[in-house]
Amino acid sequence: MDTLNNLDGAILTIVTFVPTLGAILLLFFDRKNVRAIRAFALVVALVTFVLSLHLIAHFNSGRSDFQFLVNVPWIPSVGISYHMGVDGISVFLILLATILTPLAVLASWSVSTRAKEYFVFMLMLETGMIGVFVSLDLFLFYLFWEVMLVPMYFLIGVWGGERRIYAAMKFVLYTMIGGVLMLVAILALYFLHGNATGTFTFSYPEILAALAKGALVIDPRIELLLFAAFFLAFAIKVPLFPFHTWLPDAHVEAPTAGSVLLAGVLLKMGTYGLMRFSLPLFPKVSHIFGPFISMLAVVGIVYGALVAMVQPDLKKLVAYSSVSHLGFIVLGIFSFTTQGLQGAVYQMLAHGVSTGGLFLLVGMIYERRHTRLISEFGGLANRMPVFAGVFLFVTLSSIGLPGLNGFVGEFLVLLGTFGARPGYAVVAATGVILSAVYMLWMFQRVIWGEISNPHNEALRDIGSRERLTLVPLLILIVWMGMYSNHFLRPMDASIAKLMNRVERVNTESVRTATQLPQ
């Protein structure tokens, strides 16, 4: 039992840094031995996944606080600690990252140019992704948030498509602008907390506790600025309309695995940040701007869907569908209802699985035909029946067919939003319909019909490695669709705590508002 407890204290460090360790070891491989390099990368990613299972196996669903805590002073004179922990929200996002990374490695099997650097960057990216979700120190969080840009920048810029340099640069600069302003806000929060309580620390739980207890009271105008800085960083990352313009470029140019991780995990950092930091730290301003942000989310849902409909390029279509789906997540978060928040987290996971799957599938036919234009395809079902079947499955999950994973999240979000802001929910629901339109229309043009393009005559169906990449996602799609409680229950306590924080402030602010006239 003792060793088990020790492991609990170290598991987050291990899960976060095993990929980095693997990346460092990978540096010593002979660069010509591509087989060994990718096999090793896969082993590292799988080991990380198995280790991350410890988190869910030993996760105590009844507790709302952070678990598997580790808290070691790092730069004590500044109040920076190596402080990590997970709750019911982040534990699943870590699993999402550790599941998608091995699949991304498998999907990169055909990468042969500079394979060593490629897998080094991919493993470093995994450390960055996990690090963002486990950090409880604001400095540490910012560190992972920014560091993670570097490997992604290389993955897009070196192994991407034709306009890869433009896309990589745009990706970094957009994310940076939001990020650096968040850094200033973090610093300001640090000093506000330090001056109010006397302890200068970047510890998120401590700052949050001071806010909740009233030991730290932030001037409303300053709170607004702080909220804006955090919000901008997260909104660009999500990306929320109108900050989404980097996403289609990055997705189209990124290699398949890059797109999978970008859509699957990186975008969730933005919505995670909104839930973890924006709402609890600045509940009042969140409430005030809730309607406005929800409006942006709804516009994003409809706009993303409409633009997706007219895309000639498969990847761009999926990219815009992400803008639409991520709008649902933001809508759920800013509905300030339990169902909305639950749905948001659920949709984060579901979107990661379905969209990750879609990008994998698009990557498979791109590898065969070196084009992603919908008009180049047609009638693929005749030559690639297995592919067509899986594609249909993932498409339906992305649309949100009841019984599959996408339905639960969207339903909960709409349910929660309907209670809070019915008008928004009605408009957002059209996004569900539109998603069926553009996805099924795309599916019809690519898969059904006769083969019109002679280039598609000789296409092979997907092989065993490709099937292996897809099977875990198919299982998850069904599992998440049928047994949503397996996923919802562990996050209950954390969501209730978040709701408690958001709700109490809301009633308080209402009370003070009604008292003001007297």
């Binding site: 730069i75 500044v78 650097e117 640069m169 940076m176 602008i177 200033v184 610093l187 300001a188």
Partner: protein, 482 residues
């Protein structure tokens, strides 16, 4: 008349550097041209001995030589920094000089003298001493900038630096003369005390402070007195460019801090206002203009201007924490900038010919190690977390926010985003373009290997475990700032 007590220990590093410098000049005629690199190693030995000599110096705290000379943690820190810079520059130069067929040992002597000049600046407690240090440094640097005698650009660099530098020196002297007229002293502490006397002529103090500030802003290449820097940095031999981007800059800041905090506390609110503008302008101009530079030496020159802006921001706060952050940043900048210049020196090849950004195309495919190292230094210069550059910027922004200069911090972080563009553009060339050549003639020599190892380890160490160095800089700044 009192004969001041002579305390050789308190100036031991300067003595050591000067002795080694003179020894190198005397020895040169007796050494064959092919073997002159040995004198480079001798110069390196000189910096090591001087580094060791800091210890006895540090054990003699207080004011010496009629209070002209001060030994405190602040001057010790800068002694260590300048000697480190000299050692790194020597390592970078040892194989550069034979390659460029200008293996003259007076190069090393000049480098040691310039370093001695910086040490004089760091420990001066009096304006004329500062001036002497400044001139020892400047004259040696003018010569080194023009060291490639047959190259027009190098000559242009030297002449430009000399003419404009002379103006700056004159400004400084005018400033000294005026403050002497106003307070009757050139001693910093006496000036500081005299400014609080009732019959003070305040306009003279303002004018004097302004002139001194202009002169030192010129030396550190802060906007709007930065115009000379890009041409000089481009024309000078690459190792000297590296030296100039960190050494004289740090020395300029070292005296800037000491003079203004010790001698002009009376008008602190005014000069912090001025520095606010200087810092903002320097960060904006340096970073924005760097974006369009096609030549890496010019690009690094503008980036060096931008970094002066960040240090100036820390200075603007006029707090202990700001001072500590500034000191930390000078060290971090020295480590990463020298690392970058070591690689640029190596890749420049004959006559520093290959210094266009496009000359770096495809480096990663041919020399992955070098490309990775240069990427590390560039990412650190840009300020990616986990590197020295980020830790340094973080501490500076922290001190700025603490002092309520949030808007300056916002300007700082936004210009950092701009800087990402041009640093990443070099990485674009190295990693994302097809190789134009095979880089087979790029030689990684042992001396450069040592320099790069030190720079790389330093960059990561300062970035990941900054605590000890931060404690050091905090202690060094504490002794004299408010």
């Amino acid at each position: 008349m009192n004969i001041p007590e002579i305390n050789l220990y308190s100036i031991l590093p300067i003595v050591v550097l000067s002795v080694f410098g003179i020894a190198i000049m005397v020895l040169e005629p007796f050494v064959q041209t092919e073997k002159r690199s040995a004198l480079g190693w001798l110069a390196l030995a000189g910096t090591v001995v001087a580094g060791v000599a800091i210890v006895p110096m540090h054990n003699q705290p207080g004011q010496w030589y009629s209070n002209l000379w001060i030994v405190d943690d602040y001057s010790t820190f800068f002694h260590a920094l300048f000697i480190f810079i000299a050692a790194m520059t020597t390592l970078i130069s040892i194989d550069y000089l034979p390659r460029e067929k200008m293996n003259h040992a007076e190069y090393y002597a000049l480098l040691l003298f310039a370093t001695a000049g910086m040490l004089v600046m760091a420990g001066s407690n009096e304006l004329m001493m500062v001036f002497i240090g400044l001139e020892i440094l400047s004259i040696a640097t003018y010569v080194m900038a023009g060291f490639r005698r047959t190259d027009l650009r190098s000559n242009e660099a030297a002449l430009k630096y000399f003419l404009l530098g002379s103006f700056a020196s004159a400004f400084f002297l005018y400033g000294v003369a005026l403050i002497f007229g106003a307070t009757g002293s050139t001693h910093l502490i006496s000036i500081g005390a005299a400014t609080f006397l009732p019959d003070l002529q305040l306009p003279l103090v303002y004018l004097s402070a302004a002139l001194i500030l202009i002169a030192l802003c010129f030396k550190v290449a802060a906007a709007p007195f930065h115009i000379w820097a890009p041409d000089v940095y481009e024309g000078a031999p690459t190792p000297i460019t590296g030296f100039m981007s960190v050494g004289p800059k740090a020395a300029g800041f070292a005296v800037l801090f000491r003079i203004f905090v010790t001698a002009f506390p009376l008008i602190q609110d005014r000069w912090t206002d001025v520095m606010w503008v200087v810092a903002a302008l320097t960060m904006i101009l340096g970073n924005v203009i760097a974006v369009v530079q096609p030549n890496i030496k010019r690009m690094l020159a503008y980036s060096s201007i931008a970094h002066a802006g960040y240090i100036a921001m820390a200075f603007t706060t006029a707090t202990n924490r700001g001072g500590s952050a500034a000191l930390f940043y000078t060290l971090a900048y020295a480590v990463m900038s020298l690392g970058a210049f070591a690689i640029v020196t190596m890749l420049g090849r004959s006559e520093d010919g290959k210094v266009q950004l496009t000359d770096f195309a495809g480096l990663a495919a041919r020399r992955p190690g070098l490309a990775a190292l240069l990427s590390l230094f560039l990412l650190s210069l840009a300020g990616v977390p986990g590197t020295a550059g980020f830790a340094g910027k973080f501490f500076i922004f922290r001190s700025a926010v603490e002092s309520g200069m949030t808007s300056l911090a916002v300007i700082g972080v936004l210009t950092t985003v701009v800087s990402f563009y041009y640093y990443l553009y070099v990485i674009v060339q190295m990693y994302m373009k097809d190789p134009a050549e095979d880089f087979g003639d790029v030689k990684l020599t042992p001396a450069l290997g040592v320099a790069l190892t030190i720079a790389a380890i330093g960059t990561l160490y300062l970035g990941v475990l900054p605590t000890r160095i931060l404690e050091w800089t905090a202690g060094a700044a504490l002794n004299f700032l408010r």
